[in-house]
Amino acid sequence: MSTRVGRASEQVSARLIEWTVGPFHAMLPGPMKLSLRLDGEVVHSAAIEAGFARRGIVSVMKRCTWSQGVAVMGRLDPEAAIFGEWVFCLAAEKALGLEIPERARAIRILLAELSRVSSHLHQLALVARSAGAEPVFHFMLREREAVLDLLELVSGSRHSPGFLRFGGVREDVTEGFLERLQEVCQRLLERISEYNDLLTYNEAFVRRVSGRAIISRNLVARHGISGVPSRVFDRGQDLRWREKSGYELVQHQNLPANISSGAPGDLHQRFVLKLQEIIQSGHLLQELSQHLPAGPHRIGGDFSRIPAGRFFAEVEAPRGRLDLELHSNGGTTPLDLRFNTPSQPLLAALPEFIVGAPVEDLELALASLDLQIGEVDQ
């Protein structure tokens, strides 16, 4: 394969280099094979192959009882396990016709926002490391540790809480949790400005990422990409602020309508929006921890069987919209489950997304995509 440039009389022939990365490579967001064709140092075309991390979550779920399924759903996205549990519980509660107590709803939101902050910090830390900003990488992981400590304090686990139950949550919040949560939020919000000084608005970083790794409006529309890449264009694409989402308990903190730096949909805009969402979640957590509704944290009852039918639920996970279609035949185990995870459209868009990127920027571009291969391979 070769490309020819110039007039017929004086053609320059350049052979395309084939380079296969993976399935295990530090640059990749997970086990996957990336077959690239390079024109010099620029990606000419790309193909992907996934399926190296298949865990058979649906098959396992079909063998689990309904209550066991909550813990398995947490494995869907190990970085933000609570959202898998949440969407499953929402679908089951819809089937059972349960109206969960306000306190339980608030505790779920607390955990979800903590997970969102943790996931965003982790992803931004990876971008920082790929951009060679090692101090910011370590600072962000330091803040994430504090958030994971909070998750551990309330659920006993840092990554797989297994904390949600049909009709509420497993337990009420631990003593001292809310005070510590406020401290962590306060510190986090103060430190975001440090990140901005060190990296976000650092001239070298802005120059490097502006106009790079663009997820265009067209790409978002064609592949159905949700989450931050779509919210860059339309802030309304957030399920949290829709009616009956459960977030009526808190006041909606509006994000700035535009990001002044970078090109539409580029890496810098996504980076800034993620930081803004961390700030938004921080304020939300502070507000909720000050006014946590009183009442029971769970509804009792026998939930070993779910009425027959198809039930749909959706949540706004850190990476985007997580949909679940639950099939039940009225038995003690799920009949079938269908997911629409936010990483699926991102992976589908990846070959198109990286075309034209220089090899040096590949790691940065892939890190900015916020792709969780576990969600895709399931």
Partner: protein, 340 residues
């Protein structure tokens, strides 16, 4: 130089040079990990010796005891040792002590830049041997960067040489003193700018962060791809640490007062065995100071792409060096009241 003079030169300049290089390299390695850890809110090395002072030694022993797992081509093996040649040649022309470098010659102050270029170009051959594509890209980028760093480096040295009146180490050394106000870097605004340009060129020439696209895109990647380990990896890592130290020594010799001591101490120890160690100590302290500044700069700034580094070299550093040289000449002509 008369070959018969070499034993004398080796005795006078060789020992301080070796001492300065090894001690400077050792402490710059330790400081790099300590400062890097401090900037990243980590503890850093604290197990091997007090405050982790023996950590570089422990790392070296660990490297030497590793064995290679992947075979290498015969050609690649030659290139490992080939890159020692420009490095040793560079060591022989960097100033270390009051007696200057091992090799004294007219225009000798330019020699380290050319040898630094050779060093980077052997790296290109080495990376080209890598069977993986990343290795080739990294080595090509490094060689191209070193090429773009050479013109501003040569021009900035020329400014210093013109200020001193000659392009010989002895003359440059004689034009400076112990106090910072007597250093060439602070003798006029032009040499100050030239000294900054020279340091930036060094960071470019050896692809030090932030002029490496990421920490993983450094030359060590090539070694990992080649499956290099053991004594060969230790040698490569040492040589890639020694080269920037040599560059620092050149910067110190040209712009930052070299190994000059206060005149009183200089006259006191002149001719005694203390002269060598005292000069080496001054150089080591200056090397460490310079490395601290460079480490903080490279650890806090986000990395730039190779094309951005090229732009910086060709569009900023080189024009800045040319303009500094032109204005320096014009100013010196005006103040000397006539033409050259």
């Amino acid at each position: 130089m008369d070959p018969m003079m070499w034993p004398d030169r080796l005795e006078k300049a060789g020992a301080p040079l070796l001492g300065t290089l090894l001690v400077g390299t050792y402490f710059s390695l330790w400081l790099d990990s300590k400062i890097g850890a401090d900037l990243q809110a980590r503890v850093g090395p604290n197990r091997a010796g007090r405050a982790g002072l023996l950590q570089p030694l422990a790392d070296a022993l660990r490297l030497v005891s590793k064995s290679r797992t992947v075979g290498q081509s015969n050609r690649a093996q030659y290139f490992w040792w080939l890159q020692g040649l420009p490095l040793f040649a560079m060591i022989s022309v960097v100033p270390a002590g009051a007696d200057g470098p091992l090799l004294q010659a007219p225009f000798a102050i330019f020699a380290p830049v050319f040898l630094g270029l050779c060093f980077a170009w052997v790296g290109l051959l080495l990376g080209w041997q890598a069977e993986k594509i990343e290795g080739r890209f990294v080595s090509v980028r490094q060689a191209a960067l070193s090429l773009s760093a050479a013109p501003p480096a040569l021009l900035s040295i020329a400014i210093a040489g013109m200020t001193a009146g000659e392009f010989q180490w002895s003359r440059i050394d004689a034009a400076q003193g112990f106090l910072p106000t007597q250093w060439l870097a602070f003798s006029n605004p032009f040499t100050f700018v030239a000294s900054i340009i020279f340091l930036a060129s060094g960071m470019l020439a050896f692809s030090l962060p932030p002029f490496a696209s990421s920490s993983r895109a450094s030359f060590s990647l090539v070694m990992e791809l080649q499956g290099t380990s053991g004594i060969r990896e230790a040698w490569i890592r040492l040589s890639h640490r020694l080269a920037p130290i040599c560059w620092s020594l050149v910067a110190i010799g040209v712009f930052y007062g070299g190994a000059r001591l206060p005149i009183a101490i200089e006259s006191l120890i002149q001719g005694s065995w203390l002269a060598g160690p005292a000069h080496s100590l001054v150089l080591v302290l200056k090397v460490i100071g310079l490395q601290v500044v460079l480490t903080i700069a490279s650890r806090t700034l986000p990395a730039v792409r190779a094309d951005q580094a090229h732009d910086f070299a060709w569009r900023v550093l080189s024009p800045a060096a040319i303009l500094t040289l032109v204005f320096f000449r014009l100013t010196s002509m005006v103040f000397s009241g006539g033409g050259p």
